[in-house]
């Protein structure tokens, strides 16, 4: 396609199947040759985001030095704080995978939050059915299956609407987040309300085989390994299976894929469902690992952060591990910002945005120039 009149969206908007292709091309520089550039680029990204964020803090009248130091300490300063960051990064990683798989097929899944919540609900549904009657490991596996199924079902809604009525999936999945959050509120106030809660609105606490053990420090549970395992499996599936290849073809050029006889509709639904299952798993981990029960406001905002983590990683599941960790650390750093500087914790959204500007803005090809 000629560059002159390409709409700005055209080249880069179909989520990028490039990483795989690039690795297979012969003439690319080796990793060692690329390393200095990569290091320089990331140094520039980090320095520039910190500088701009500091400018915002100064504009607010806060001294950036102590604020940044407090954020660093809260997120990365001690083994415990790194543990906190891992705990926070876990659902972000699974929400990132929920966006990454559909993105390979050219779909936008903005419904990660709703799918996370449905996963949490599914996990509790299964746990309630088992009622402690199954051994620990089996309980957790069944909860994960239930969570993944409900997460996938919630993601299937926008996917089916897309295929059947061509409803824009970005918009419908986003609207479903609000509905899922209201369902959670309803469950907590009405049918699932813990009778022993003394008025608090949440579901019964699970304390038995439905919970992950604590493996490190005081709160770190094995959920992060489940999430990383899921990322690795997805990476392999997307890279080495024909299914993964088909998704890339659809994402690259759907019309060509259709001409080549691929079942675009079915594959789209499948991609969304796999994504939804990932988010569902994230919801289950949050319940089994961190929360122990359903409560209103659970995982608020995590779906969007995961979506951005997926873009930060260019939809590569392995890179999602790193990007989820980075965004998780920034989110945790937010409480340092609150405590030490008395600033609104919402201000960390600026830092997240700056990191994404740097990576997405610099990472993509510049707009077509007249030539």
């Amino acid at each position: 396609m000629t560059a002159v009149d390409a709409p700005p969206s055209e080249t880069d908007d179909a989520p990028d199947p490039a990483p795989v292709v690039a690795e297979e091309t012969g003439g690319e520089p080796t990793f060692a040759q690329r390393l200095p550039r990569v290091v320089a680029r990331w140094a520039a990204i980090i320095v520039s985001t910190i500088v701009i964020f500091s400018a915002f803090l100064l504009a607010k009248g806060a001294d950036p030095g102590p604020v940044l130091e407090a954020m660093w300490k809260t997120a990365m300063g001690t083994p415990d704080s790194i543990g906190e960051t891992l705990i926070r990064a876990t659902p972000i990683l699974l929400a990132a995978l929920a966006a990454a798989v559909p993105a390979r097929a050219g779909l936008f899944n903005l419904g990660g939050e709703g799918q996370l919540l449905m996963g949490a609900i599914g996990a509790i549904l299964v746990a309630d059915q088992l009622d402690g009657g199954a051994p620990g490991f089996l309980t957790l596996v069944l909860m994960a299956v239930g969570a993944a199924a409900l997460g996938a079902a919630w993601a299937a809604l926008p996917a089916l609407l897309k295929v059947v009525t061509r409803t824009n999936e970005a918009i419908s999945s986003l609207l479903l987040n609000y509905i899922a959050a209201i369902i959670v509120t309803w469950l907590c106030f009405e049918p699932w309300k813990d009778p022993a809660s003394l008025g608090q609105a949440y579901s019964r606490e699970m304390t038995g085989p439905e919970r992950f053990p604590v493996i490190w420090g005081e709160r770190v549970h094995p959920g992060i390994f489940v999430a990383i395992g899921a990322a690795v499996v997805l990476w392999a599936v997307l890279k080495y299976t024909t299914w993964g290849f088909k998704l890339r073809v659809i994402g690259g050029n759907p019309s060509a894929a259709r001409r080549a006889g691929l079942a675009v509709g079915g594959l789209s639904v499948a991609a969304m469902c796999v994504g939804g299952a990932m988010a569902g798993l994230g919801g289950m981990i949050e319940i089994a690992g961190t929360e122990g029960r359903l409560r209103p406001g659970l995982l608020a905002g995590v779906g969007f952060i995961g979506f951005l983590a997926s873009w930060l990683a260019k939809h590569d599941p392995l890179k999602c591990i790193l990007s989820a960790f980075i965004l998780g650390a920034i989110a945790v750093g937010g409480s340092g910002l609150k405590i030490s500087a008395g600033l609104s914790g919402g201000a960390v959204n600026i830092l997240m945005a700056l990191v994404l500007f740097a990576v997405l803005g610099w990472g993509s090809k510049p707009a077509a120039k007249e030539s």
């Binding site: 320089a40 520039a44 520039s48 500088v51 701009i52 400018a55 915002f56 504009a59 607010k60 009248g61 806060a62 001294d63 102590p66 604020v67 130091e69 407090a70 300490k73 001690t78 415990d80 704080s81 906190e84 705990i87 926070r88 209201i182 509120t185 309803w186 106030f189 022993a196 003394l198 008025g199 608090q200 609105a201 949440y202 709160r219 961190t290 929360e291 409560r295 209103p296 406001g297 659970l298 995982l299 608020a300 945790v332 409480s335 340092g336 609150k338 405590i339 030490s340 500087a341 008395g342 600033l343 609104s344 914790g345 919402g346 700056l354 500007f357 740097a358 803005g361 610099w362 510049p366």
Partner: protein
């Protein structure tokens, strides 16, 4: 590198434009208490709030209490964290405060309780007090809860509202049907009915602690039902009071004295005065006496004990002396051991909940799950 530099310059320029436009002239922020995290031996108290600390509401009241405590106690360092969600994230915030040297933590929102208990178990040397909850079975030596009998001043305000209304319809805008809110709505209604048997209360749940657009529409919906007195249980209160005032209806405040927002329609209200209680709790813990103090448990104060942290706001100009005298009388009866919920109290279906001569305990009030007769609305 020229490309990144250009992009950087562009970003910097644009974001500053946004920043400047957004803040008008930025007032300088409080510089805070610095990032020094070492425990320097100074007694450190942490406060966590679920919302912003200047919302004209619940959180602002708690924040002002912390300030009053700070100036009263003097030799104390105070850590503040606002917008702390009622999820496991709050555990991390509390742990952070401990890492910064906190010896005592005030968890001020209803949903923070369980997390405070979790952190307390792991940090036996730190004391935790929770605002509004009940300890339940998980009794720890370093955890206590405290609260006022919120519904007492609300009942008194209900008397003033019942006298003031001409349509006999009162409006109540609330967020979620938590027991504290239900008790308030019931107390308000019973107070109004005590002087005006025809008074009824129409309730609207907004499903949010602060969604101003829904709030202003909720006011309109209530006015359309001929409601002429509106009160609320929301975290941000300004929109409702101003919309009510603009429509020429009357307001009963909650959380804070907002009479300046409603010079014509202000009746009265209920507001927090946490300073004295916070000060006493801090002094008790500083002296090492927490374990054997009443704060190590579910501490409740009301008019009966004389130091309810929830007090009546000042009256508006419309309230006459007769009404004020009547309210004083009822107040005295609460001081003497009466209760807004003294039987007979019937629920919406007409079923008697508290029989003649019966009155509920604190625990029963704080787990209330029904509307009294005369309330329009559905829980759930």
């Amino acid at each position: 590198m020229s490309r990144p530099i250009r992009a950087l310059a562009m970003l910097l320029g644009l974001s500053l434009v946004v920043a400047l436009a957004a803040c008008g002239s930025a007032e300088s922020a409080s510089s805070g208490s610095g990032g020094d995290s070492k425990d320097d031996g100074e007694f450190t108290v942490g406060f966590i709030y679920v919302g912003p600390k200047d919302d004209f509401g619940y959180n602002q009241a708690a924040y002002e209490g912390s300030k009053a405590m700070e100036s009263e106690v003097g030799d104390v360092k105070v850590l503040q964290a606002e917008n702390v969600p009622e999820t496991a994230e709050s555990e991390q915030v509390m742990q952070d405060m401990i890492d910064q040297g906190a010896d005592l933590i005030f968890a001020t929102s209803y949903g923070h309780l369980e997390f405070a208990q979790n952190v307390a178990e792991k940090n036996p040397d730190v004391t935790f007090v929770h605002q509004g909850g009940l300890e339940g079975e998980n009794k720890l030596d370093n955890v206590g809860t405290y609260f006022g009998t919120v519904y007492e001043p609300v009942y008194l305000a209900g008397i003033a509202a019942g006298k003031a209304t001409k349509t006999n319809k009162l409006g109540y805008i609330y967020a979620f049907p938590i027991p504290q809110t239900l008790a308030n709505i019931n107390a308000f209604t019973l107070g109004a009915q005590s002087v005006n048997p025809d008074a009824e209360t129409i309730t609207i749940a907004t499903g949010s602690w602060c969604d101003p657009s829904v709030q202003s529409q909720a006011v309109e919906s209530l006015l359309d039902q001929d409601v002429d007195v509106i009160t609320q249980h929301q975290d941000c209160t300004k929109t409702i009071i101003e919309a009510t005032e603009a429509a020429g209806a009357m307001s009963v405040g909650y959380h804070a004295d907002a009479s300046e927002l409603a010079p014509k329609g202000w009746i009265t209200g209920s507001e927090w005065n946490w300073g004295p209680l916070y000060t006493d709790i801090v002094k008790t813990v500083m002296a090492g006496d927490f374990k054997d103090s009443p704060y190590n448990g579910d501490y409740r104060v009301g008019l009966q004990t004389g130091d309810n942290p929830f007090v009546q706001s000042k009256y508006g100009t419309m309230v006459d002396d007769e009404t004020k005298a009547q309210i004083e009388e009822v107040k005295q009866s609460f001081i003497d051991g009466g209760s807004p919920f003294a039987g007979p109290v019937k629920d919406q279906s007409g079923k008697v909940v508290y029989k003649e001569g019966e009155q509920p305990t604190y625990d029963e009030v704080e787990t209330m799950d029904f509307f009294v007769e005369g309330v329009t609305g559905k829980i759930g």
